[in-house]
């Protein structure tokens, strides 16, 4: 075998170059919608792309609604682009930057808050005569859909943080499913359950849910957002240390399944075998997750909801009520009018609502809500969670608190505490130091 040293080196570097080049380019060349001209008249054939994430039930219901829209607008073809939560954020952000996003897209609140700061991606629905926003609660729209005076997106549903309880299992395990929990009583009950049977844990989680718990605890202690809109902290070291101390104890006592096991199902807690095999009775989660958590349990299993944990002396309930997700229409859409028309139908039409039911929690439009209830498509447990949430609603999350880099700091520290690698004091110090420097960095980049 012959060799040519420099030739081989050259070849190797070219190969590297191409591998890395491919790696860093990122922008995917995906299909753009058919470009038949801007003015969409009724006769013109139009293809729209609609993207969302979700579980099986949401996919099925949304596809059924899309199918039904064929009767309403035979000239419009809707191409569905759906997937699980994992990786959806990255896909959407990349598509938006590359101007290849779907015409109508489902977004999560934190991304919307971030994206509206970075560019003008979405159609102002208030300027669209085809869009009927009259059925929405104006306050809800103002809080979550309006950015710089524009209605960039509308809520897909009203979603409340709650405890989703497998009541059949809770009864069997002697866990009080009617309790109004405090952090102390929760810790105690979890400790007891795990001590009785080491294969059982009280709470289902992943690192994002733990982050949520920590943030809730901080809000309840201080009555303020943990990260304020002016890039300052809303808590002291003592507040953080107390919260982490609770988490540390809860992890040690087996209130939660060890994070190493549960986090394999990050963003898809309904796939956790411990939940499916009925070894965990309670999932602290958003009400919109309920259908997917329920479908994996045997038929006849009773699933109810309850108010999330509220500390006795809480200054704010910390109960999160927010849109399940939001729908926006892309500014790059070639068929904005048609896209807006579809979205308006999707949100307001009673027939659509009856098909969609509670797959995005309780519909935000009153008439749609009633239609879905009449059709028997809304789980009473979800209505309960949303009603409880609305009557106990806490602070509205601001964009800085929802920033992905800020949240990642909390994620990392929550993990250290959960694995017992940091104690409460160390974790609190690290949280404050990391946040302070990150917030400064973010402010500089504004």
């Amino acid at each position: 075998m012959k060799r040519n040293k420099w030739g081989a080196m050259g070849l190797a570097s070219l190969l590297l170059a191409s591998l890395l080049g491919g790696c860093s380019s990122g922008k995917s060349a995906s299909n753009t919608s058919t470009n038949a001209g801007n003015a969409a008249n009724a006769e013109e054939k139009v293809t729209l792309r609609f993207s969302w994430w979700g579980g099986e039930d949401r996919h099925a219901a949304t596809l059924a609604a899309i199918e039904a829209y064929k009767q309403v607008a035979p000239n419009v073809t809707i191409e569905a682009e759906y997937q699980g939560f994992d990786g959806y954020e990255q896909k959407i952000k990349t598509q938006l930057a590359g101007k290849t996003s779907a015409d109508i897209m489902q977004l999560d609140l934190p991304w919307l808050q971030e994206l509206t700061k970075k560019g003008d991606f979405f159609v102002d629905l208030n300027t669209q005569p085809e869009f009927d926003a009259s059925g929405f609660d104006q306050g809800f729209l103002d809080n979550y859909g309006m950015y710089d005076g524009k209605l960039a997106a509308v809520p897909t549903g009203v979603n409340a943080y709650c405890l989703i309880i497998n009541k059949s299992l809770a009864d069997k395990l002697n866990v009080d499913s009617a309790a109004q929990w405090t952090w102390d009583s929760l810790l105690e009950a979890g400790k007891q359950l795990h001590a009785q049977d080491s294969s059982k844990y009280l709470l289902l989680t992943d690192h994002a849910a733990l982050r949520q718990d920590m943030v809730t605890m901080l809000k309840q202690r201080t009555g303020k957002q943990w990260v304020q809109e002016d890039y300052t902290l809303g808590f002291t070291k003592e507040d953080a240390a107390a919260s982490f101390d609770w988490l540390y104890q809860a992890m040690q006592a087996g209130v939660y399944q060890p994070l190493g096991e549960s986090d394999l199902f990050f963003g898809k807690i309904d796939q956790n075998p411990k939940w499916i095999n009925q070894e965990i009775p309670i999932a602290p989660s958003m009400s919109s997750i309920l259908p997917s958590l329920k479908t994996v349990l045997p038929e006849g299993t009773e699933v109810i909801t309850a108010l999330p944990v509220i500390a006795k002396d809480a200054k704010d309930s910390g109960v999160l009520v927010r849109p399940s997700q939001l729908f926006a229409v892309s500014n790059d859409s070639a068929h904005k009018t048609e896209a807006v028309k579809f979205l308006s139908w999707f949100m307001n039409d009673p027939g659509a609502a009856a098909l969609l039911g509670d797959v995005r929690s309780v519909p935000p439009v009153k008439a749609s809500q009633e239609a879905a209830v009449t059709a028997g498509k809304i789980d009473a447990a979800i209505t309960n969670a949303v009603e409880l949430g609305l009557s106990h609603a806490g602070l509205v999350d601001n964009a800085v608190a929802n920033n992905s880099e800020v949240q990642k700091i909390m994620d990392d520290i929550v993990q250290k505490v959960s694995y017992g690698k940091s104690n409460a004091e160390q974790a609190a110090d690290e949280l404050i130091a990391s946040l302070t420097s990150k917030l400064k960095d973010l402010q500089d980049r504004e």
Binding site: M1, K2, R3, K5, A8, M9, A12, S13, L15, L16, A17, S18, L19, L20, G21, G22, C23, S24, S25, G26, D86, E89, Q90, K93, T94, L96, A97, G98, E114, K118, G119, H207, P258, L259, G260, E261, D263, L264, F266, P273, K274, S404, E405, K408, D412, Q415, K416, Y419, K421, S437, R445
Partner: protein, 313 residues
């Protein structure tokens, strides 16, 4: 060139026109590879060079890039502990996964070089994992195999072993992901197999006449004769391992406790979660330089351990 020239000089003048015609055929050759060439320029060379430019900017893909000089590099080296963590994890990963994978590939290649009736069938079967390879589906399968209540642990339980927290323990998770890479040994194995079959039989005959054991024939004949292929496999697998992504992304998300936070994952997160494209480009150029450096070291050292029949001339 001189060789061509001397041949040209020997050809009578009347024949030279034919040569010119042949040269025209060469241009036709370029025409044939044009689609590839355009692809290379637009989809590889252009992003490659522009990523160098972006690495000196603050760029979120939405607003125009803002020139910041060496700021990104400075931040990476001085203010980003995750950078060092991801380097460490990636280093361990490369040092472990690559040699184990090559050793395993060689082992299987030895088995499959046996002259059996159904050998082609076996070769196909053993190559299958590489086709399925780094896909998302296999990563999901890996999760279900190795999770706490997964298949592997239930098999171990039958032997009254375990359970091992394959993916949940910060001390083990990286090795479990390494196994996923090792499992995709097929392409290295095929090259080894081809190499083994190229080794002249008379070497083994001479060895056995001299009374060499199979063991010493393996280490004194097979391995030295295969070193050029080892070199190639080593470089290719090393380059791939530095950029490993799918398994860690799908199965562990870099966790637990960043124990599988590979460099490519860090890069991806900066680029597509935080939208810091400039920063991510800088990270990718640092990785590029690291891979180049390691490749150079391997090539430099190869003179000492790679054996060429013709002496490497």
């Amino acid at each position: 060139m001189s060789v061509t020239q001397s041949i040209l000089n020997k050809i009578p003048k009347s024949g030279r026109r034919k040569i010119k015609v042949r040269r025209n055929y060469q241009y036709a050759g370029y025409l044939y590879i044009l689609p590839w060439l355009i692809g290379l320029l637009i989809f590889q060379l252009y992003p490659f060079i522009s990523s160098l430019y972006y690495s000196f900017t603050d760029y979120n893909m939405v607003s125009a890039p803002k020139w910041v000089g060496l700021d990104n590099y400075h931040k990476i080296f001085t203010e980003d502990p995750d950078f060092y963590q991801s380097l460490k994890v990636t280093g361990i990963y490369v040092l472990l996964a690559v040699p184990v994978k090559l050793a395993f590939a060689l082992f299987v290649a030895m088995l499959l070089s046996a002259k059996l009736k159904a050998i082609n069938f076996f070769r196909t079967v053993y190559y299958l994992p590489s086709i399925l390879g780094g896909s998302v589906a296999i990563s999901v399968l890996w999760r279900f195999l190795f999770m706490k209540e997964g298949v592997v642990n239930s098999l171990l339980a039958r032997l009254h072993l375990g359970p091992v927290d394959w993916l949940g323990s910060p001390d083990i998770a990286l090795y479990t992901l390494g196994l996923l890479t090792v499992w995709q040994f097929g392409s290295s194995m095929v090259l080894f197999l081809a190499g083994i079959q190229q080794i002249p039989n008379d070497l083994y005959e001479a060895g056995s006449i001299d009374g060499a054991s199979r063991f010493s024939m393996f280490f004194r004949i097979t391995v030295p004769m295969l070193t050029p292929i080892v070199l190639f496999n080593l470089v290719m697998q090393m380059v791939n391992a530095f950029q490993e992504f799918t398994g860690a992304f799908v199965i562990t998300h870099g966790g637990p406790m960043k124990s599988t936070y590979l460099y490519a994952l860090k890069l991806y997160e900066e680029a597509f979660t935080f939208f810091k494209m400039g920063y991510a480009s800088a990270l990718s150029w640092i990785l590029f330089l690291i891979i180049m450096a390691v490749t150079a070291v391997i090539f430099k050292s190869s003179g000492g351990w790679v054996h060429y029949e013709d002496g490497g001339k």
